[in-house]
């Protein structure tokens, strides 16, 4: 056979690069910004919006005055140029964060409490962290109370020991009936608190910090304080309400339904009115609950009603087989709830609970309407009405919005992350 003459290519031609319009940045721009006439128009409109915002904001931001005593001094320094007067933030920073009455020598206490709060929350938020850290989370509320309100540490220690005693008693009896164990725990704690009250009274100066009354709290600290406490207290209450609403006992069910629907049907501001002007009528004449406590009660109720609805959604999402399986292996109500139903239902409802809680933190600004001096209340009241800073709206409200944005945005990002995390667990 002679040589093979047929034309057969022996090696592949190297790939040609795609046409310029089909690769790299050009392709991306064509597909994402100018794919149709309508898209092109939208792109130009968006670019114009972005441009006009940048043009308006940049000089205002860059020309910002950081050092001035009053708003007039600020305008003098700006000399007619467009510019922000950030000096107000610098001068009034402590007021914005701590309120105007919190003693300035004690600012380290809320600061420390906030840092410790993050540490205490870490093991709850991230399940990878060692479980032993939860012990600190359990101690934290008592520690934070001592740090923020001051007084002798014995009060906090006594309260903590009471709770610890309750848990120990509960553990001891929990092999029997759940109800009896809880009852014993409650009695033990109350007995301890009565005894502890006398012990605390004996030595009021032991490791004592300067006492700061509730009405001196203010600024963003007050928002965080109200938000955190209301959320923490409302989660157990909300779960209890949800279980009550699901229960087969008509009287308990209707108590829960009426409570939930009533609270969800009225705006928070009316509940705050109740806290402000009415709630005091319902307590014995000689007691005087301070306003923060009354507001906290109403906020806890408010948040609990919403959390109850979220948890109810989680309970309803479980298949009936889970309830039947728990019954069929002979678990009683508390056991099946604790070991089978709630762990699954709560897992489904965590993102919802986080969303509701972010909403609660945002709603703490409403207390400014009943003349409490939270972040917004400080801005609207003492700062804007002072002659020094009259008329500096943008910088103050912008700063308040930025603070809330940072906190709420990171919490909602966390909730999205958690949602993805839980989804991978399911597979």
């Amino acid at each position: 056979m002679s040589e093979d003459n047929s034309f057969v290519r022996k090696e592949m031609i190297s790939e040609r690069i795609p046409p310029a319009a089909e690769r790299g940045l050009v392709k991306w721009v064509r597909e994402n910004l100018f794919s149709s006439a309508f898209n092109t128009i939208m792109t130009f409109i968006s670019l114009w919006v972005i441009y006009s915002i940048i043009v308006a904001v940049t000089p205002w931001f860059l020309n910002g005055v950081w050092d001035a005593k009053t708003v007039r001094e600020c305008y003098d320094l700006l000399d007619g140029k467009s510019g922000a007067c950030f000096a107000v933030l610098k001068e009034r920073f402590p007021q914005l964060i701590y309120g105007f009455k919190y003693p300035s020598s004690e600012y380290w206490r809320p600061n420390l409490a906030t840092v410790l709060l993050l540490i205490a929350l870490a093991p709850i938020l991230f399940r990878r962290l060692p479980r032993q850290l939860l012990i600190f989370s359990a101690i934290y509320p008592f520690l934070a109370f001592w740090l923020i309100w001051g007084g002798s540490i014995l009060t906090s220690v006594s309260a903590f020991l009471g709770c610890a005693l309750a848990i120990i008693c509960y553990r001891r009896f929990s092999s029997g009936s759940f109800a009896i164990a809880v009852l014993v725990g409650l009695i033990a704690a109350n007995v301890w608190w009565i005894i502890g009250g006398y012990i605390v009274d004996l030595n009021k100066s032991f490791l004592a910090l300067e006492v700061v009354p509730s009405r001196d709290m203010g600024g963003f600290m007050l928002n965080l304080l109200l938000g955190t406490i209301a959320v923490c207290l409302s989660i157990p209450l909300g779960i209890a309400l949800a279980l009550g609403r699901q229960s087969g006992m008509p009287i308990i069910k209707w108590i829960c339904v009426v409570f939930i629907e009533f609270i969800r049907g009225v705006p928070l501001i009316t509940l705050l009115f109740v806290a402000n002007v009415i709630l005091a009528f319902f307590f014995p004449p000689d007691t005087s609950l301070d306003l923060i406590l009354r507001v906290l009660i109403m906020m806890t109720f408010f948040n609990a009603a919403y959390i109850a609805e979220v948890v109810r959604g989680g309970l309803a999402a479980l298949s009936k087989g889970q309830y039947e399986a728990a019954d069929s292996i002979g678990l009683d109500y508390t056991q099946s709830m604790r070991f089978i139903i709630l762990p699954q239902a709560l897992k489904i409802s965590i993102p919802g609970i986080v969303n509701v809680s972010v909403g609660m933190l945002k709603d703490t600004t409403l207390v400014s309407i009943i003349s409490m001096f939270d972040l917004v209340g400080m801005i609207r009241g003492p700062i804007l009405s002072s002659t020094d800073w009259n008329g500096v709206y943008w910088e103050l409200f912008g700063a308040a919005a930025a603070i809330f944005f940072v906190v709420c945005f990171s919490v909602s990002k966390y909730s999205q992350w958690l949602e993805r995390q839980l989804e991978t667990d399911k597979r």
Binding site: T43, I252, V266, I269, V274, F282, K362, I369, R380
Partner: protein
């Protein structure tokens, strides 16, 4: 085990109240009720004692007394000699007004932003994401205050409209946007306008009847009737004919600059406008998320299947995607409408006189009738919420997935 033993076990014993599942729930409920009654009695006793100590009583007679304060934004006649009851009604109407306007605008913002977030235009989608995140994560009260000060700062005062070369001009000589509020033309109803309105309502009913007829025709005979232009025709033609035949009975009263201020027309105060705008743009961000989730919840296979059947894109959207997406969108949408109504109570912050501002604000402070006023206030919001959620339940049942 003989029968007598069984019978004895079934006989009621007191220990069964705790140990037998059949009776235990009665024990629990009895205790719950007992504790509830005790708590109520305790609170009621305290209330009565406190009221007696303060020399107060529960009485609604204050509603009949003259209010003595002015309300500048009102839908019905009111002056400072009117009763507190009338002031409250003005407040109720103002609440409903801002809630109604807010729902419409929030739906507009939300649907626009939700659809644009799914746009294949990268920059538009990102802009909308920024809008949604910024507005969702900052308290509505701060937005209301910011937007209120934006309106005050950027819109011209009425005096800017004066003179030969005014700094600001009216839009089409009919709309004036000032820092004191918006001035818009006011319709004047002369003789015969009633007939025009009735014709208009009848023609809207006619459109629905025609569409129903067209659908019946389609289902029974397979004939596709032209509906779009016929509907437009029914909407405009009869009303316009009657309107001109009766000699234009409905006129417009334009706002005019008189001295330092505008006269005539409808004056929507700055507080109403900023509250309306803030509530709707804030809630719009939430609605955008719901709309996006609703559209994304429809499986891609649905639109592909519809396309495989040869449906055109607008049919796919109207007949396949939207009905399924709406099932996801509508229930949260309605609860956001409810939220707007409840959030409108923040009107207090900008001085808009809604029910919280009149009954829960000035009336409460003037008369000192805190318990009565707050109870009435809560009752009003409860009635609104419960009636809306009743409607929602009916709707939910009607669109519930019917599995066969």
């Amino acid at each position: 085990m003989n029968t007598s033993e069984l019978a004895r076990r079934d006989k009621f014993q007191f220990s069964m109240l705790l140990n037998d599942k059949r009776y235990r729930s009665y024990t629990f409920q009895f205790f719950a009720l007992f504790i509830l009654i005790c708590a109520m009695a305790y609170l009621g006793k305290n209330l009565l004692e406190n009221l007696a100590a303060a020399g107060l009583n529960i009485s609604y007679s204050f509603l009949g007394e003259p209010a003595g304060y002015d309300i500048n934004q009102r839908l019905i006649e009111y002056n400072s000699q009117s009763t507190h009851l009338r002031a409250s009604i003005v407040g109720v109407l103002n609440t409903l007004l801002v809630a109604f306007l807010g729902c419409i605008a929030a739906t507009f913002f939300g649907v626009t932003a939700g659809i644009l977030r799914l746009s294949n235009n990268w920059i538009v989608a990102k802009l909308m994401m920024i809008y949604v995140e910024i507005f969702r994560n900052v308290p509505v009260l701060i937005w209301i205050l910011i937007i209120h000060s934006v309106f005050l700062a950027f819109l011209p005062q009425p005096k800017a409209f004066r003179g030969e070369n005014p700094e600001a001009t009216m839009l089409w000589d009919a709309f004036a946007f000032t820092g004191r509020g918006f001035y818009i033309p006011k319709p004047l109803f002369n003789d015969g306008s009633f007939i025009v309105i009735v014709t208009f309502i009848l023609s809207i009913i006619g459109i629905f009847a025609f569409r129903y007829y067209a659908r019946q025709k389609l289902y029974s005979e397979g004939k596709l009737l032209e509906t779009r232009w016929t509907s437009v025709g029914i909407f405009f033609i009869p009303t316009l004919i009657i309107y001109f035949a009766l000699g234009s009975p409905i006129g417009l009263e334009y706002p005019e600059l008189k001295g330092f201020n505008f006269k005539g027309g409808i004056h929507a105060r700055g507080s109403l406008i900023s509250l309306w705008f803030a509530l709707s743009i804030y809630t719009g961000a939430f609605i955008a998320e719901v709309v996006r989730a609703g559209i994304q919840s429809v499986d891609k296979g649905q639109s592909e299947a519809a396309g495989a059947l040869g449906m055109r894109p607008n049919f796919i959207m109207n007949l396949v995607i939207l009905p399924q997406a709406l099932r996801v969108i509508v229930p949260p949408l309605i609860s956001f409408y409810l939220n707007i109504t409840k959030n409108s109570s923040l009107a207090l912050a900008v001085g808009y006189m809604d029910i919280t501002g009149t009954l829960g604000g000035i009336t409460l402070n003037q008369t000192g009738r805190a318990i009565e006023a707050v109870l009435l206030l809560m009752l009003f919001y409860l009635v609104i919420s419960l009636s809306i959620s009743a409607i929602m339940n009916v709707y939910n049942r009607s669109i519930m997935l019917k599995e066969r």
